[in-house]
């Protein structure tokens, strides 16, 4: 009996449905081609999207479309979305079938105004279908305010990891020795979404049934199992000697990485003592506070004092000082990575921030992040500390001013000011910044402030 429901249970795919593609993008959706045959274009569903995959056509050729009616479901680099028709008419010809990929702005279908023009449109689609790729070249201008997509260094999420996958190891009495898999409807749905093989999951539900939390636990366990403990780079499921094309998300990562080369960046490192932070973490961990949230909070508080580090350069001529401090945190998810954003991290209290973080990670895994939840970051954090990495260097995501790479906090022998030698936990951070707007002295001052906050973290909990 579920007397108290988790709030995270409801928003599933319905939360993904966008009302409509906003006006500015609308113009790229439909251009008047001929008097009465319009092309339906692959819309830009996010500022970083350059191509989209057709998940499904909700209408068939010959169907009548009303203005505002959903026509097609498109998978962008972030999420699946419904795309609506901006005009009335008939869906005359589908030019990109389900499963097909088309660049943003290229025609994916033709819309005829009247039924009579369907045949004409069909003929047109055949003649033009060969030439569709050229449309790509027409739209190369990347929007500068592009979302911070992905830093080079992937960070695994710091959510509680793989706790007790073997909770209820009872074998289901009816599973006939593993021949049958008994999983609840939601567990099956989740397994499909998270690409978890139910055959490998041990159920903890009634009579050993696999329930949703078993699948979630298994999904978290997989990346951890494949991490530093086993340095074997070959993850299960990868066939050696093959060439595997990028997924939409990996394609977006690749483009962003190349684009980052046009930004003049530099790096400044700092070593921060974390004993006080570790003690605080230990104290409030039971209240659901995560280290990621603590680091984000500390960073945000430091940024309050150094707004320039929270700025970015959009046009090469000016500083854009962001009004809010939104900390994006890189998360590795199946087959790629994404940067959920903790909005107003300076203002939100640490407990809310931790809850928010957990929710974002859950959504990210289910590929249900809304665009504002991953593309509004103003400063990015990438943390590989949990893998024992002591220092690394991150690539600046396009559209932001700085990213901070956080290494592991490790016991080190240090000489203190009073001439003694002692043991302290120390963590190395390394900030990559856009030198057009952020200079060395800015970063140095910012890091000094950050170190102070971390070394005396009482402000983090208010």
């Amino acid at each position: 009996m579920a007397n108290v429901l988790q709030t995270s249970f409801l928003p599933s795919t319905s939360s993904l449905r966008r009302r409509s593609i906003s006006g500015s993008k609308g113009k790229s959706q439909s251009l008047q081609v001929k008097a009465k045959i319009r092309e339906i274009f692959m819309p830009a569903l996010s500022s970083t999207m350059t191509e989209g995959k057709i998940v499904s056509w909700m209408k068939s050729e010959g169907d009548k479309l009303s203005k505002g009616e959903s026509v097609v479901v498109v998978e962008s680099d972030k999420a699946d979305m419904d795309v609506e028709s901006f005009h009335e008419g008939f869906l005359a010809a589908i030019m990109v079938e389900e499963g097909g990929v088309a660049p943003v702005g290229s025609a994916i279908a033709l819309l005829a105004e009247t039924e009579d023009e369907i045949a004409e449109a069909k003929a047109k689609s055949q003649s033009s279908s060969n030439s569709t790729p050229q449309v790509v070249e027409e739209k190369p201008k990347q929007i500068e305010e592009a979302a911070p997509d992905v830093p080079a260094a992937a960070a695994a999420p710091s959510v509680p990891v793989a706790k007790a996958v073997t909770l209820g190891s009872a074998v289901h009495p009816a599973s006939e020795g593993g021949k049958r898999i008994v999983a609840s409807p939601y567990a099956k749905k989740l397994a499909k979404e998270l690409k978890v093989d139910l055959g490998t999951v041990v159920g903890s539900g009634p009579l050993g049934r696999i329930v949703a939390k078993d699948v979630e636990a298994a999904a978290v366990a997989v990346p951890v199992a494949a991490s530093p403990a086993k340095p074997d780079p070959v993850a299960p499921g990868i066939e050696l000697g093959t060439v595997v094309p990028f997924t939409t998300m990996q394609g977006a990562v690749s483009r962003n990485m190349v684009e980052s080369l046009s930004v003049p960046t530099f790096r400044v490192g700092y070593t921060i003592t974390t004993n006080a932070l570790d003690a605080l973490y230990k104290k409030i961990k039971s209240k659901g506070v995560t280290m990621t949230a603590l680091l984000a909070k500390a960073t945000a508080l430091a940024l309050v004092q150094h707004p320039v580090v929270n700025s970015c350069c959009r046009d090469g001529n000016s500083f854009t000082y962001n009004s809010s401090i939104n900390i994006a945190v890189a998360v590795a998810i199946d087959g790629g990575l994404i940067t959920p954003v903790l909005q107003d991290a300076d203002k939100v209290d640490i407990y809310t921030l931790s809850r928010k973080w957990k929710e974002l990670v859950d959504k990210a895994r289910a590929k249900q992040l809304q665009p504002h939840e991953y593309n509004t970051g103003t400063f990015t954090l990438s943390n590989l500390g949990m893998f024992g990495v002591d220092r690394f260097d991150a690539i600046l995501p396009p559209g932001t001013g700085a990213i901070m790479a956080v290494g592991a906090s490790q016991p080190s022998v240090v000489a203190s000011m009073d001439g003694r030698i002692g043991m302290k936990n120390q963590m190395q951070v390394n900030v990559t910044a856009d030198h057009r707007v952020i200079y060395g002295a800015d970063l140095a001052a910012f890091l000094q402030t950050l170190a102070k906050i971390v070394e005396d973290p009482k402000d983090l909990t208010f």
Binding site: A2, L10, S14, K67, P173, P185, K188, P206
Partner: protein, 571 residues
């Protein structure tokens, strides 16, 4: 009446009621309309054919025809009657008939062996609406995305099962006492006990163990309703294998419940259970879920009501055996392929809800005393709801309304039929147009419909040689829907472009059940699109969805806007 009642289907959760009608509706003929929804023409509506499975086991009356002879001899029609009208069964149908009878000046009695209100009030539409009201609110509170879009912040929503169950029960009691009081206040005699027909115009009633009373009436209406239909092989224990009767008491909220049948009842309960935290598995005999709905509405409903929720399904399968949970074992459901009859799968769940439709409750009615044999339990009637005997002759002064005749198993249809019968016995000939009766499913969002589905309309069009037009509008374009942040929805109009006749309207979206009446009234009154499109709707309201729908239809210019058919009669 504000709600649906459960609809019977012979096959688990399938066969929408309209499947059975070979519509002989001739709206194009000029007629005089005096009452909404009551028509003068015959309407070939055989409700008996839609139960395609022979599994209803209520045909035990077939062997006792002899009795009627003797009954006739000692039961010759009395000269003076105790009542003008006796109604057997005080459900929504009987209640509607009783109220109208009093209005017409008839001395009326109603016999009820159980509780006043029947299925609808006690075990159907009414308590289920209470549960659905709760599930709607839970859904809203849990939808963080939705709340945030409105700028609201709500911390974790929870519920108290007993509190929810009490709400449903209290609502049923309240409506029941309203119904009882309204009849008492009007002077309807409520006779307690099981009613049995003993001869023409003669009924006995009485409680078990008490002497029977015999009363006579000029006319008798059978309105005994229906009970949940449980297919063979399914063992109902009331705890883990349940019907809607048990489910409405909400004695438990299982983690995982299988719902057999994806018609109205199953769909509404899936809405309730998933909102309260259960996971649901549908078992549907036909190849697609929600088989009764217009296919386009069904497709959209599946995208919204099934796919994003914690629901999975097996289609094209029969549940041949369902064993309740006992001795630490779960509920076990054996599935076979509906076509090949090969064993397909075995499910183990915490509970199973049998929502395979409803079977008529006509056992022990004494129909043999008037030489009537039920057909799969249904009382055979003609289009004027007059009972037909074994020889195909009409039984004088005997009528049957509601679920017991199987024409259209909805509470408000029963009530409309009752009113139609009272009209007839008070000297006015009437035939109810069943195609003007709306139906609704109270999921979130709601589904509603009236008239024909698109495939039915196209079939009829092909037979009769006319064109079919389809118009659609989306809730996404409606200001009020967007203000509520509930833009998901579609309204669909099926019509004749040549004369503007409305053949069917289907709505999926916010408050669809309330919106359908503009369309059902238009069908009942014979209003044409070219006329109704000039009617004004308040702005901004959800009703504008229908306004836009009518306006988006293209009626050929030749269709006169004030033809004889569309002219409403002033009363």
């Amino acid at each position: 009446m504000h709600s649906i009642c459960f609809q019977a289907t012979g096959v688990p959760g399938s066969n929408y009621i309209f499947d059975s009608c070979s519509p002989a509706l001739a709206i194009s003929k000029p007629i005089n309309l005096r009452f909404c929804g009551l028509r003068k023409e015959a309407f070939g509506f055989s409700g008996l054919t839609h139960s395609s499975s022979g599994r209803v086991h209520f045909s035990s009356r077939g062997h006792s025809k002899k009795v009627s002879a003797s009954a006739e001899s000692n039961g010759s029609p009395p000269k003076s009657f105790d009542y003008d009208l006796i109604i057997i069964g005080a459900g929504v149908g009987g209640h509607g008939a009783a109220l109208h009878a009093v209005e017409k000046g008839l001395k009326t009695a109603i016999i009820e062996g159980d509780v006043v209100g029947g299925t609808c009030v006690n075990r159907g539409c009414v308590p289920s609406k209470a549960l659905l009201a709760v599930s709607g609110k839970m859904r809203e509170l849990q939808s963080e995305h939705h709340m945030k879009a409105l700028g609201l912040q709500v911390s974790a929503a929870g519920y108290d099962r007993q509190g929810v169950a009490d709400h449903a029960n209290n609502l049923a009691s309240k409506i029941r006492s309203n119904l009882t009081n309204s009849m008492k206040a009007l002077g309807v005699d409520i006779l307690t006990g099981v009613g049995t027909i003993v001869g023409p115009q003669k009924v006995k009633y009485g409680k078990v163990g008490f002497p029977d009373n015999i009363v006579t009436a000029k006319n008798i209406i059978i309105a005994t309703g229906s009970v949940p239909f449980v297919p063979k092989g399914i063992e109902v224990d009331g705890k883990t294998v349940i019907t809607s009767d048990h489910a409405l008491k909400l004695e438990s909220v299982p983690d995982w419940i299988a719902i057999v049948g994806s018609g109205y009842i199953g769909l509404e309960f899936s809405d309730v259970y998933t909102a309260l935290g259960s996971e649901v598995t549908f078992i549907e005999a036909l190849d697609q879920l929600m088989p009764g709905f217009d296919p386009e509405i069904g497709k959209l409903a599946q995208r919204v009501l099934i796919n994003p929720r914690k629901i999975d399904y097996h289609t094209g399968v029969f549940a041949t055996k369902i064993t309740p949970a006992k001795d630490g074992k779960p509920v076990i459901i054996e599935l076979i392929d509906a076509k090949t009859k090969e064993p397909k799968d075995t499910l183990e769940v915490d509970a199973a809800l049998i929502a395979t439709g409803r079977a008529p409750f006509t056992n022990g009615l004494g129909l043999e005393n008037v030489n009537v044999v039920t057909q799969r339990g249904f009382v055979p009637v003609d289009e004027r709801l007059r009972v037909i005997d074994t020889n195909g002759n009409l039984v004088p002064h005997l009528y049957c309304i509601g679920d017991a005749n199987g024409k259209m198993m909805l509470a408000h249809a029963a009530s409309a039929q009752g009113i139609s019968v009272v009209e007839q016995v008070t000297g006015r000939d009437h035939v109810l147009n069943h195609l003007s009766i709306p139906a609704a499913c109270f999921t979130h969002p709601e589904i509603s419909m009236v008239g024909l589905t698109e495939p039915q309309a196209r079939e009829k069009a092909q037979k009769e040689g006319f064109e079919v037009g389809v118009a659609k509008t989306s809730f996404k374009a409606n200001t009020k829907a967007l203000a509520e942040n509930e833009g998901e929805g579609l309204a669909k109009l099926i019509y004749r472009p040549d004369n503007g006749e409305i053949l069917g309207v289907h709505i999926f979206g916010l408050h669809a059940a309330d919106l359908i009446h503009e369309a059902s009234n238009a069908i009942a009154l014979g209003t044409r699109i070219q006329d109704i499109k000039f009617a004004v709707h308040a702005h901004p309201t959800l009703s504008e969805v229908l306004d836009e729908l009518f306006k988006s239809a293209t009626v050929k210019a030749a269709a006169s806007s004030h033809g004889p058919v569309s002219e409403p009669v002033a009363v």
